[in-house]
Amino acid sequence: MTGSNAAPTVATWDAVIVGGGHNALVTAAYLAKGGLRTLVLERRERVGGAADTSALAKGFRVPALAHTVGRLRPSVHRDLDLKRHGLALMAPEVRVFAPSPGGRGVTFFDDVARTSEGLRSISPADADAYPAFDRLVRSLGRFLDELGRSTPVDVKAPGLGDALTGLKLGRTFRGLGRRDSQTILRVLPMAVADFVAEAFETDVVRAALAWRGVRYCAVGPWSAGTAAILLMDAAGNDGGAAGDSVFARGGPGALSAALASAARAAGAEIRTGAEVTAITTHDGRATGVVLASGEEIAARAVVSGADPKRTLVDLVDPVALGPSLGWRAGNIRTPGVVAKVNLALKKLPVFPAAGGDGERLLRGRIVVAPGIDAMERAFDASKSGRFSGTPILEATIPSLVDPLLVEGAKPGSHVMSVIAQYAPYKLGDGDWATSAEAFGDAVVAVLESVAPGIGKLVTHRQVISPVDFERDYGLTGGHPLHAEPGLDQFYAWRPMFGHGRYRIGGIDGLYLCGSGAHPGGGITGGPGQNAAREILGDLKKRR
């Protein structure tokens, strides 16, 4: 560790940002707009982190990790004028198509009444229950969105601002009405399996809706607290019960490119191929960063878009952090259980459950989750270090809405992006280098069960394991959300109690702006926007 005791030099930068993921870029844009001299340092050759479009094969481009961007906060979109910077969003009318191996399927549309009508052939009771459930998810999601937009209150030493936040949240809470306000407290700690079972009787409907309660997380639908994960995902978008399905033209990387363009336009400088190896501190203050090249860069504030565990355990001098905080940071839970499988396809696969309507029904997210118990069994494997033999999948075929992705390929070609669970970071036997293809086979086998013949259409396949996520994208434990979004790493205690306000207590001038901070992961820009607000406030005070 170099430079941790270096005396502060004159800082050329007001803020240096570690990592160029989407949240870091959002923070950079806001800070630059606020007049701060801002520098973004990205280890890889292009910005975006997990919001990335990569080449799968000649003529095929594919969302590397995340595949939809519908949770991007509307105010970020507006404030940074992302449309002008090239962002085009596309929202198909189908949100989720959930095919069953038997050739039947459930479709969730953007229109609640239409979804409900479709459910009627499966279960009249579920059809009747859907509008009320959708309303409940929206109502509770709105409250959580309000929570997500504000900086968590300082429970330890509340100030005037915290009291105002508290009052505002209290008002929103009361705005829920007596019934929903009681419901939210009851529902948040619940298992998502119980939550959906309160409304629906059909297993496939329950499973399709419960999926967002476990997506990216080391929990099964019967785990307590998964209803909160579902509701957090429903915060700040108009997805309702089904969730959103919004694509960026050109893939998620196009969103990152737009954010980078907005940041640059506002005056931020972005350097790629610049890996930060240490955050320097002096006298309890962050003073800058050291790059892999040995170059030292001084700044008034160091903002980390990297995950909190990497930031605190790997980048900050343990002496500066102190043993207690270091121990706690080391215990931040990052149990990655997701792998990504990207496929290049000769033509559009046939899903019997879609009838002849594949072109239309396959445009949203295709969720292959046969039932609640099947999801739970897939999770069971991961608890003892095995990947699931029949994983749960969320697939998209983004080339259906965005032909740009297969521009250079033969006509009729498509790309498929598959989020596959459960694939634990730590395998009991063997390692991911030798197991990745076997997991890829398991994923294709599950796809075969709902789209017979799809295997023969695959011309290229890419399996990205949690270990790859960690190595290539710096995600500790391969966790796409930077830290497990359990109720133990939530709100004012995300990532750790006492450090949930984007600042790290004990080290002035060190900030977190990534998914490991409130309100958590997903392509939202939320933590980045909130963090920027706090940093601007602090730095203006110090001027």
């Binding site: 007596r178 009851r186 215990n331 739970e376």
Partner: protein
């Protein structure tokens, strides 16, 4: 002409009796109605086999609030708690640091000895154990005031019930950041994740995390189980947190002592008096009707039964509004534990530490690894009883020889998991009782191979049996799961955690209310206090 009392209490379990004692002490004419021939509900001692007496259901005590023991002067009424020392986790040959015949992990009240024992396994864990123990005692101290609090209704606009919470918030702010963080973790994490922050010895984590699943339909890796861990840490005996004991004469000894205190204060107690309905007229409860047809009038009716029994089974349909009734039906019970009581010809011998000895005088925990604990839950998740269950064994005759004929023993085995709802392919619990009993015996025999040759009699209590005998819905020993969404202001119905019900003069006073289950008694005491306060009576 029907008899009339100021208060009629349905159910003579420990909470019902405690409420009765407090109400009678304040001068109310009070009647307790118990359906069975014995008092105590799930805290009963019965001679199941001639000469062998068993605490058939609840079998240890630690949570009984000290203020209740003091205020009701229970020792004068015969309460005598014999301390249990230690937790012995036997392992199989080849497991553990000791070579040869097998090893064990044995923690005792003597702190120095436990640390030496842990050091054998892991120096880190021995060090962490001290810090951890202190932390948990601090946590239990911090949360203790909650046990005697009446939860506010979070959706209410009346600020007064929130005042105790602000006191709590202030004491929270006085905790160190480290302790604040630990408290948040305790409320949200899994027992396994929580403990893994300190410890690396697998049988230690497995055994300690077992406290987090007692009575709960969750595995040790299920979020929310750390709270149950804390719930079991709140027990005090003679001022020492985390101390367990068994009442002399079995858990029925507690019920009899409380019953005696209630009677001494003037309460009347009737057994074999099963309530069929709660009478409601003009929106208020006016009494009860027994199964015999006898009617009893009352100024207030307190039910120590769980919320489903009280609201669904004892009230006429249509008494409650549909929304409230839906919430009652939603409350989760899901009994997950069974009990196997054995009469033994002699003590079993554990391979890890053969022969009789001190290690058999405390709890014997069949929890050799976290994987086996979690797999026991995985069986239950899909509707099967655990093929290789977690078992908490006590041999009460070693501290209280009066429970069996000379030279003989009784052995109490608390078993998880035994899910109330079995997969339909298995049939009913009546078809599975003995197979489940066999699985328990086989499981213990992995560690004590001679057990089978010592068994004289075996009594298996499935969750269905617990429900049939005690009336606990779905056999849930806590009158409803201790999951986060069913605690504090949501217990047993969101907005109705203040012991009152939508029916005026109908009150709840059992484990279904805050602060939950176990032989704690806080529920019965606070309910009585609230009722007295509402009547303008002096609360002693």
């Amino acid at each position: 002409m029907a008899q009339r009392y100021d208060a009629v209490i349905i159910g003579g379990g420990h909470n019902g009796l405690i409420s009765a004692a407090y109400l009678a002490r304040a001068g109310m004419t009070t009647l307790v109605l118990e359906q069975r021939h014995v008092l105590g509900g799930a805290a009963v001692t019965e001679e199941v086999f001639p000469g062998f007496r068993f605490s058939i259901f609840s079998y240890v005590v630690s949570l009984l609030r000290p203020e209740i023991i003091r205020e009701l002067n229970l020792p004068a009424h015969g309460l005598d708690i014999l301390p249990l020392d230690g937790t012995f986790t036997p392992l199989r040959p080849g497991e553990g640091p000791r070579a040869g015949g097998g090893d064990y992990l044995w923690r005792v009240n003597d702190h120095g000895r436990t640390i030496r024992e842990l050091r054998r396994w892991s120096k880190n864990d021995a060090e962490a154990y001290e810090e951890y123990g202190q932390l948990m005692v601090d946590m239990a101290r911090f949360i203790k005031p909650i046990l005697s609090m009446v939860p506010p209704d979070p959706s209410s606009n009346d600020p007064r019930p929130f005042l105790p919470l602000t006191t709590l918030l202030r004491s929270f702010q006085k905790l160190s950041e480290r302790r604040q963080a630990v408290f948040v973790q305790l409320m949200t994490m899994s027992a396994f994740d929580f403990l893994s922050q300190w410890f690396e010895t697998d049988p230690l984590i497995a055994t300690m995390s077992a406290s987090g699943i007692i009575g709960t339909y969750q595995g040790i890796k299920g979020p929310g189980t750390a709270y149950v861990l804390l719930h079991h840490y709140m027990g005090e005996i003679d001022g020492a947190f985390r101390a367990w004991g068994i009442p002399k004469g079995g858990t029925g000894g507690i019920s009899n002592a409380i019953g005696s205190a209630a009677r001494a204060n003037g309460a009347e107690i009737r057994t074999e008096a099963r309530v069929a309905t709660i009478r409601v007229g003009g929106g208020r409860a006016s009494g009860v009707v027994l199964e015999s047809g006898e009617e009893i009038e009352a100024g207030a009716v307190l039910s120590s039964l769980d919320s489903r029994q009280t609201f669904i089974n004892l009230l006429e349909p249509g008494t409650l509004d549909a929304g409230f009734e839906a919430e009652v039906r939603r409350f989760k019970f899901r009994g997950s534990s069974g009990k196997v009581n054995m009469a033994l010809d002699g003590l079993p011998s554990f391979t890890a530490l053969p022969g009789p000895g001190e290690h058999l005088r405390g709890a014997i925990s069949i929890s050799p690894s976290t994987d086996e604990m979690e797999q026991a839950y995985d069986d239950a998740k899909y509707g099967h009883w655990s093929r290789r269950p977690y078992i908490d064994i006590i041999i009460p005759t070693l501290v209280d020889p009066s429970m069996a004929p000379p030279g003989k023993h009784v052995m109490s085995c608390f078993v998880q998991y035994a899910p109330y709802h079995l997969d339909p392919s298995l049939g009913s619990w009546d078809d599975n009782r003995e197979a489940f009993g066999d699985a328990v015996v086989d499981r213990i025999s992995e560690f004590a191979p001679d057990l089978k040759s010592k068994i004289l009699h075996r009594n298996v209590q499935t969750p269905l049996d617990i429900e049939r005998t005690t009336g606990l819905s779905e056999g849930n020993i806590f009158q409803g799961e201790l999951s986060l969404e069913q605690l504090f202001f949501s217990r047993p119905v969101p907005g109705w955690a203040r012991f009152r019900t939508p029916v005026r003069d109908l009150w709840l006073c059992g484990s279904a209310t805050h602060p939950g289950g176990g032989i704690m008694g806080a529920n019965g005491r606070i309910a009585a206090m609230e009722l007295l306060r509402s009547r303008g009576k002096r609360v002693a």
